[in-house]
């Protein structure tokens, strides 16, 4: 087991990439600490799977290095890297029994029979297939097949890391939750580095200690779920994490004041002059409804009651703005303003968050 470092890594599927769009992965440097539980989050086509396949050695990166500890693994095969990976769709060996499927990776490494048997029994118990061990894999449901795939991924104990590529897509919701819990449990017990690719924020946030968010071939932010929620570094993170995501409104920033739709919003920090598209970002949790002159002009379009709170869907000018109102608070019938909580407002310049402290230093 070792720390995994990606150094100036980039990848293109084209033989001679020239434009920015030609690159599936744009240059990045990233470290995965030994024993961490990571989620790699992003919408489809953002390069998550490419990144995963580079780590496991299925794909050779166009540029940059992959280090395990201090050892350069870039050119080494999957076998030499000693990594386990579970894929999005179940991969089972149809003609083998469940037991043979689970034993397959161990057998290929020449482990003694008794150790294989013990380990297979342990894993079978974990994925809840102890009673089905002698069945042929062919006739099983997609659910069961994916559990076997998961089991095969976890059956080896000495792996450097276990990679999961959206493994729960085909599993039904109840089982999803259970398997995720078991994965966490496994992580606690054996301390493998785990990297879990998903486009589902709930999955990412419940599984991982660290979430890496990718957008358009770039890692836009890596941090704890809390950090991603509190201070999204990129508008995509703000929008992708949270339900509903962060509200973004075009704004003119002057010092510590944001001008939106003729109204003014005070900001916690003063900002210098900026060129480009400036936006004010604030999560629906930190907006409240009001009447009168305070805050921003707001038109309510719809109210959704989701049980523990209500979501107000509406607009400020042309921008869609959502507000979350706790269940016990009344909604004023004539509400026509939203009032932001300045402490949680962020300013974005061309989609990237402006860090006021750093900006002051730069200025």
């Amino acid at each position: 087991m070792a720390r995994i470092t990606l150094e100036n890594l980039s990848h293109s599927y084209l033989p001679a990439p020239s434009k920015d769009e030609d690159w599936a992965l744009k240059p990045m440097t990233l470290t995965w600490e030994d024993g961490g539980a990571y989620a790699l989050l992003g919408s489809s086509g953002c390069g998550k799977s490419t990144l995963l396949n580079i780590i496991s050695g299925l794909l050779l990166p166009s540029k940059g290095r992959v280090l395990f500890g201090d050892r350069d693994m870039t050119g080494l095969s999957t076998m030499e890297r000693n990594i386990a990976q579970v894929f999005q769709f179940p991969v089972v060996y149809d003609t083998m029994s469940v037991r043979e499927n689970l034993a397959f990776p161990l057998k290929n490494r020449g482990l003694p029979a008794d150790r294989i048997a013990a380990r297979v029994a342990e894993i079978a118990e974990m994925i809840g297939m102890r009673d089905a061990l002698d069945r042929r894999a062919r006739g099983l449901t997609a659910d069961a097949k994916q559990k076997i795939s998961l089991g095969r991924g976890m059956v080896r104990q000495d792996v450097n890391a276990i990679l999961f590529d959206e493994p729960l897509t085909v599993i039904d919701p109840h089982m999803k939750w259970e398997l995720r819990t078991q994965l966490k449990e496994l992580h606690r017990r054996f301390g493998h580095t785990m990297i879990y690719v998903t486009h589902d924020q709930t999955e990412a946030l419940t599984f991982a200690d660290q979430v890496v968010v990718m957008y358009d071939g770039r890692v836009v932010q890596a941090g704890t779920p809390q950090a991603l929620f509190d201070a999204p570094e990129h508008t995509f993170v703000g929008y992708f994490i949270g339900s509903p995501g962060m509200n973004l409104m075009d704004a003119r920033i002057e010092g510590a004041i944001a001008h939106i739709e003729g109204a003014q919003v005070p900001l916690p920090y003063g900002y210098g002059a900026m060129r480009g598209r400036t936006q004010l970002g604030i999560r629906p949790e930190f907006l409240s409804l009001g009447t009168g002159q305070e805050g921003l002009p707001y038109t309510i379009r719809r109210i959704e009651d989701v049980g523990h709170h209500r979501i107000i869907r509406g607009r400020v000018g042309q921008a869609d703005v959502n507000v979350i109102v706790p269940e016990d608070q009344p909604i004023p019938a004539d509400a026509n303003r939203v009032i932001p909580d300045p402490a949680h407002a962020h300013v974005y310049l061309d989609d990237w968050r402006v860090n006021p402290a750093r900006q002051e230093r730069a200025a």
């Binding site: 396949n53 299925l58 050779l60």
Partner: protein, 273 residues
């Protein structure tokens, strides 16, 4: 994935080169001979024609008893393909969408006709078509070839149709389509590649078959393949013309392959992968 493709290295390329060489050499030899005069073929042994000549091809393309062979073949092949596909389409739809009395037996019985040796049917066909005055007509050969092409077309089309979700039919009916209109406007475009593959196979088997087409014709509908056989035995050893005639029979096949090249692999698996 690039990495997977890389695992097939030079060994694979070598295997393919050798195999394709094995396939192409005999054909090349035929081409080589077709461009030589008989004197050169029999006189000197050479890997390529020393004095390439198109005389053999000219002989064929200017003599109606030769080139009408091609025309006859193409006529009955096209007739057969059209008939086979036309009757197979509704039948394949029935097999892929409904259960009905005796369906399984019927399907198997149809397939057994694909298994019937042409030699078994040669004589009875001859008598049957003679007695109803169809002997030596294109339609006779086309109908005879239906014996194995219709079952095959049904089988292939059924495979492709089963891949189309039944919800599409239901949606169309709800939208007020009548069956014929739905079938032509919506369903057939969906299985266009299947129709192409089935037509390809009908064309192929009708084009390459000789036993029945020779038995059922004498002059007016005589296929090119039979013309060749006769010429070999009658005019002795006109190797150059024979080779040229052979080369010309390869061309329609090559053209058809070129058109369906993107479906070949799936097509040969009859849509059942």
């Amino acid at each position: 994935m690039a990495a997977v493709a890389e695992s097939k290295g030079r060994g694979a390329a070598l295997v393919m080169v050798l195999y394709l060489l094995f396939l192409m050499l005999p054909i090349y030899w035929l081409l080589n001979m077709s461009l030589k005069t008989n004197a050169e073929i029999l006189g000197t042994f050479s890997l390529w024609p020393k004095n390439p000549t198109l005389a053999n091809y000219r002989t064929i393309l200017t003599d109606p008893s030769w080139y009408m062979g091609y025309v006859n073949s193409l006529i009955y092949v096209v007739m057969n393909t059209v008939i086979s596909i036309t009757v197979a389409l509704p039948a394949a739809y029935a097999f892929s969408r409904y259960r009905f009395m005796g369906d399984k037996h019927l399907f198997f019985w149809l397939l057994t006709n694909r298994m019937a040796p042409a030699a078994v049917f040669a004589l009875p066909f001859f008598q049957l078509y003679s007695s109803i005055g169809l002997f030596d007509t294109h339609i006779a050969v086309a109908l005879a070839h239906c014996l194995f092409n219709v079952p095959l077309a049904v089988w292939i089309l059924e495979g492709f149709m089963s891949g189309v979700p039944r919800e599409i039919d239901e949606t169309a009916y709800i939208d007020g389509y009548s069956f014929p209109r739905f079938f032509v406007k919506i369903f057939m475009p969906l299985i266009a590649s299947g129709i192409g593959v089935a037509a390809f196979f009908c064309f192929m088997f009708s084009w390459v078959e000789l036993l029945l087409s020779r038995t059922l014709t004498s002059v007016n509908a005589k296929p090119i393949a039979a013309t060749m056989t006769r010429t070999v035995s009658a005019s002795g050893l006109d190797w150059g013309v024979l080779a040229a005639a052979g080369m010309l029979t390869i061309i329609p096949g090559a053209l058809v392959i070129w058109f369906v090249r993107n479906y070949i692999a799936k097509g040969f698996a009859l849509g059942r992968v």
